[in-house]
């Protein structure tokens, strides 16, 4: 089951992130696909701020992961862009991040190989001229619940 949304501009991307966060229960893993500049981090900003985070959502490219603690809820925003070898994830203690109950957003998940869990949702951001189209696809029953709420 899929959900598709046409995004006019950055504000629309942030709004979709917020909408997505309000449809999510805790304990969800979301993969974000799309080229550089497609809006993955912008969508993540809407998502994380939608959960109640006040302040900036910095690009996690440099640090690989940015953690957020929102009233006891753990959110991890990954960017595996700079990662050369998935094995490297073992050394940063990757398994600890995926405790049940945590919310995990992963940009460039294909760089993570088998060391990251299967996603509940796959979000793909595509260019359409200067606008964007977001495709959200459910990969688990939990993901399906989210798509139903979005539709």
């Amino acid at each position: 089951m899929k959900f598709e949304k046409y995004l006019e501009n950055e504000t629309a991307t942030v709004a979709l992130g917020k909408q997505l966060s309000s449809a999510c229960q805790s304990g969800i893993v979301i993969f974000l696909y799309g080229d550089l500049g497609a809006g993955k981090t912008t969508l993540s900003r809407g998502f994380i701020q939608g959960l109640g985070h006040v302040g900036a959502v910095k690009s996690p490219t440099y640090t690989l992961v940015e953690p957020y603690d929102i009233q006891g809820l753990q959110i991890y925003h990954f960017d595996l862009y700079r990662l050369a070898d998935p094995d490297e994830l073992e050394f940063m203690g990757i398994r600890d991040y995926f405790e049940p109950g945590n919310l995990c957003l992963l940009e460039w998940p294909d760089k993570g190989g088998d060391l990251i869990p299967q996603p509940d949702l796959m979000v793909t951001m595509n260019y359409q001229g200067e606008k964007r189209v977001a495709d959200i696809e459910a990969k688990t029953a939990r993901g399906l619940e989210v798509i139903k709420k979005l539709n």
Partner: protein
């Protein structure tokens, strides 16, 4: 007082010796950039292992360069954060252990404090207070510096760091990652005025930055205009002008707000020629002056850590025996001297 400085927060292993009386006595650097380029990215654990391999030989080389023995040292300073945890732990463990073995005091230095004090390694150095613009691949920050350890963050990037925007736009232009410096190089061949990029967040008050939109603007422009060599150069130029203008506009605003006359730029992006030239012209108009370190000290190095560490050791600040890294460490939490 002579202090050994050790920097291992990211891709560079830097070791230096700074003397209160004689200035910089030794400066050794090993860069892993080539190693990471071979892998096409940063490899955090490889980085840590490489720091472990390189630090001791670099310390020996630094002592030899300064013609000193370890008994001539009065303290050891090392980068305690922020940065990649594995890389930080490599430097912290070596530095803390050596200090214990050599019966010397040790002090943990904040990486960004090192950067903002780096112009102090030069002959023309700023007096306090000054405004500092820290711009690198991982940070973009405007800081009011009253004195060492008295920092007020006036603004920072709400998304991508300036250097990150350079590197990612370079990648969009088909250059190898991280290609920021290469982008600046091809920008010199660009046609003035062909493209006009926005100056993000300059049309509203405040000193925060946002560079993520520029990357998107570049992607859209490439999609529309193609990427032949001349177009690449034109986009590179328009992008670089936009980043430099944005940084300059915010600096001017911060200088007016703080009524300061001295501006320090530090971090990898401060090596950018266009930025240096534009800020020099701006500061002259404002009857002020811009300060920056030599190119070698814009990027990560041990000298800035030795310098900052010396100031803190002189003030009696030392660490206990625990080996502790601080991957996240807000600069405004540092103690004054």
């Amino acid at each position: 007082m002579r202090v050994l400085g050790i920097e291992t927060s990211c891709d560079e292993t830097g070791v230096a010796i700074y003397s209160e009386a004689e200035g910089l006595l030794a400066h050794q650097l090993y860069s892993q950039v080539k190693l990471h380029a071979d892998y096409g990215g940063v490899v955090p654990e490889l980085a840590s292992r490489d720091h472990i391999r390189k630090t001791l030989p670099l310390i020996q080389a630094a002592l030899k360069e300064a013609n000193l023995s370890h008994t001539d040292l009065d303290g050891i300073a090392f980068t305690q954060g922020p940065g990649l945890v594995g890389a930080l732990l490599a430097g912290s463990s070596i530095a803390r252990s050596l200090a214990y073995a050599w019966k010397l005091p040790a002090v943990g230095v904040h990486h960004m404090e090192g950067h903002l004090l780096a112009p102090m390694l030069e002959d023309t150095k700023p007096e306090f207070p000054f405004l500092a613009l820290l711009v690198s691949g991982g940070h973009t920050m405007m800081v009011a510096v009253k004195a060492i350890g008295e920092y007020e963050i006036l603004g920072e990037s709400i998304d991508d760091a300036a250097g990150e925007a350079f590197d990612k736009t370079a990648k969009l232009l088909g250059l190898d990652y991280p290609g920021g410096p290469l982008l600046a190089k091809i920008a010199t061949q660009g046609t003035e005025g062909r493209f006009k990029f926005p100056r993000p967040m300059t049309d509203r008050p405040g000193l925060d930055f946002s560079f993520s939109g520029l990357k998107t603007f570049a992607a859209n422009t490439i999609a529309k205009e193609g990427d032949d060599l001349q177009t690449q150069a034109d986009i590179a130029l328009a992008f670089e002008q936009a980043v430099v203008d944005t940084l300059a506009i915010k600096c001017k605003r911060a200088l007016e707000q703080t009524k300061m006359k001295r501006l320090v730029i530090a971090g990898g992006v401060s090596a950018n020629q266009r930025l240096r030239e534009q800020l020099a012209v701006m500061m002259e108009k404002l009857n002020g002056k811009v300060f920056y370190p030599r190119t070698a000290f814009c990027t990560d190095n041990g000298a800035m850590i030795a310098y900052a560490g010396l100031a803190r050791l002189k003030a009696g600040q030392t660490l206990d025996l625990a080996v502790k890294a601080r991957p996240r460490w807000p600069i405004n939490e540092l103690p004054p001297l």
